[in-house]
Each structure stands twice: as C-alpha cells, then as structure tokens.
Symmetry: C2
C-alpha cells in the first residue's frame, strides 16, 4: 500500500493563525483592529484612494507599501473610466475575502487546493442612484458568487470549505448585514 | 459690481447625467445593470481579481481596460502582504463612491470644488473572524468617514453636499443595509 506523504501546502500558515487565535483569546485588547483608507478627489468622478496604515495587536502597523486605487465611472456615464467603479471594489473585496478564507480553511482541513476561481455578478437598478424611483435601493439587489474549485477533496468537502469560509468572512458579513457609517465634515 | 462669470467645472457632465435620468425613466429596462468581477486564488491568502465587463443600457459593456487587484493579508497575519486586505477594498469602494457623489452633486448645484479628501477608519474585533467569540461579528463594528472639503460654498452648503451624496450612494447603501449574497460551487 502506497501512502501519499506529500504534505498539504496551500501557502497558508495555519499554525501561526491558530497561535494568533490563542494569543488573542488571552489578550482580547490586541484583537481590536482599525482599518483605514484615504481618498482624494482627482477630477469629475475620478478619485484616488490609498491604503497603508492600520492598527492592531496594540500598535500602529503598516503594509510593506502603500496600495493606491483609482476609481471612476465608465464612459457610458459620461465619465473617463480611469478606474473600476466603487461598487466593483466591493465585489473585489467580497471575492478576495471568501477566496482567502477557502485557502485557510482548506489548509486547516489538510485539503490540497489546485485552483480556485470565483465569478461574481451583482444586479443594480440605476433608478435608485439616479433618483428616478425612491422605492428602488441605491445598492445591489443581490450578489451571485460562483466558485470553481479543483482540489484533492470530495464535492461534499469542497462545499463545506466554501460554507465555512462564508461563516468566517469579514466582507461577507459587511455586505449581508448592516454596518453603521458615520460621515462628518471637518 | 464685478460678477464672477467663470463657469463652475468639477469635471462632471451633469447634463449627460440628467439626460440619462430622463432616458432611463422612459426605458426602465435599460437601467438594469449587472456589475461583475472574477477572482483567482494565487497562493496562501493572496488572490488576484479582475474587473472589466458589465451589463447595462440593454447590452454588454466593457471598461476601456481590465482593472486588476491583488488582495492579501498582511505580514502580522503570517501572510505575504501582496495587496490590500479585502476589508480595505470595501473602504476604497465606500470612499470613492461618496467622493464621486460629492463632485456630481456639487456640479449640479453649481458649487466649484477645489479639493476633497476623505479619511476612513473602521473598527474590527478579530475575535469574530478567528472564531474566538461567536457574539462578535466578523465585519466592521462601524465606519467613520471624515471629509475635508475646500469649495466655493458655505459650511452649510458643503454639509448638504455630503448629505446628498450619502443619500444617492450605492456603496453607502450596500454597507449600511443588508444585501443577499448567494454562493455556489459548480
């Protein structure tokens, strides 16, 4: 009988995550994070946002570099299409959050992933943001996420991976549940 | 008496937007949009998302180029920090949506903007996503957005701009109200 002895490696350091869970259980104040972004208006509907610093583990933290993101409206809205639309950034956040979760859960369950791709589609009735119909919401009327996953696992195990990723996803929670947003001018 | 005759120009084509509102009022099916993103897992918590095609005005549409976005977890989570975190993408979406709205509303109200910057901060207790405490949500416990706006307008007019932008913002709605997300594996 030949055993497969290649260790599962999805590139996620699960030992470190489990260690962090224990450490933050013992020191709950270190689990209080603050995520930040800044945004500067450029011209028309074009803006440039930057993400670099955040707070966590009781101290100021920084990404290894500042990440910059141009956002704009597309040409069919009489804009210059200098970047993805704001709503598409939300889809990127949701897709990347669920996908990172799938990799982490797979590692923890010793499932080798070969490929994971997601296709997202979100409906939106522009009668909302254009103020045509006050009964129509401004945001998405729903989001559909379809995963294609190639892994050393049964179909049932793969479904369970995706389900667990949703249960632990920050962005899935942000999109599916209300979050208070306070906006002020200084 | 000297009149200021320089036309207000924030780079937003309000006439086109008002035309679109009328056109979409007359043809509501053209207002049905579908926004899309695809996401491919790279390694560990690193993924790459792409935004290019969308549907609207009754036809398939495309940005002038495909926009690509790397997402990852930072080094303090034992990841490689190859991109912004998924939750930071949500902040970019919110910031850029509100900022584009401010520019559009200002143009419509004939207010010349000189500069608009936003600073966003969102709290998050990692006890949620790490599964330490089931009472703690996975997402943000709230988001604070602070605007600094230099414009040819009174403080009251500037506050009203920001308030109107919130009322018409797709991402503000997505974050503050629940959206149904359907996830499936194919």
């Amino acid at each position: 009988m030949k055993m497969n002895t290649t260790p599962v490696n999805n590139g996620v350091n699960v030992e470190a995550l489990l260690g962090a869970r224990q450490a933050l259980t013992d020191a709950p104040e270190a689990a209080q994070f603050k995520w930040r972004a800044t945004c500067s208006w450029v011209h028309g509907t074009h803006s440039r946002s930057s993400v670099e610093k955040f707070y966590g583990l009781g101290a100021e933290q920084s990404h290894k570099t500042a990440f910059q993101f141009d956002a704009d409206h597309p040409a069919i809205f009489a804009s210059e299409d200098n970047g993805a639309t704001p709503v598409e950034y939300v889809l990127v956040g949701l897709a990347s959050c669920l996908t990172a979760g799938i990799a982490a859960v797979a590692q923890n369950r010793k499932i080798q992933l070969r490929s994971v791709t997601a296709t997202l589609e979100a409906g939106m009735d522009l009668a909302g943001i254009l103020g045509i119909d006050s009964e129509v919401r401004n945001g998405f009327d729903g989001i559909k996420v379809i995963y294609n996953i190639d892994a050393d696992a049964t179909r049932e195990e793969i479904n369970a991976l995706v389900a667990q990723s949703q249960r632990r996803s920050a962005v899935f929670d942000i999109v599916t549940n209300p979050t208070n947003v306070h906006v002020e001018v200084r």
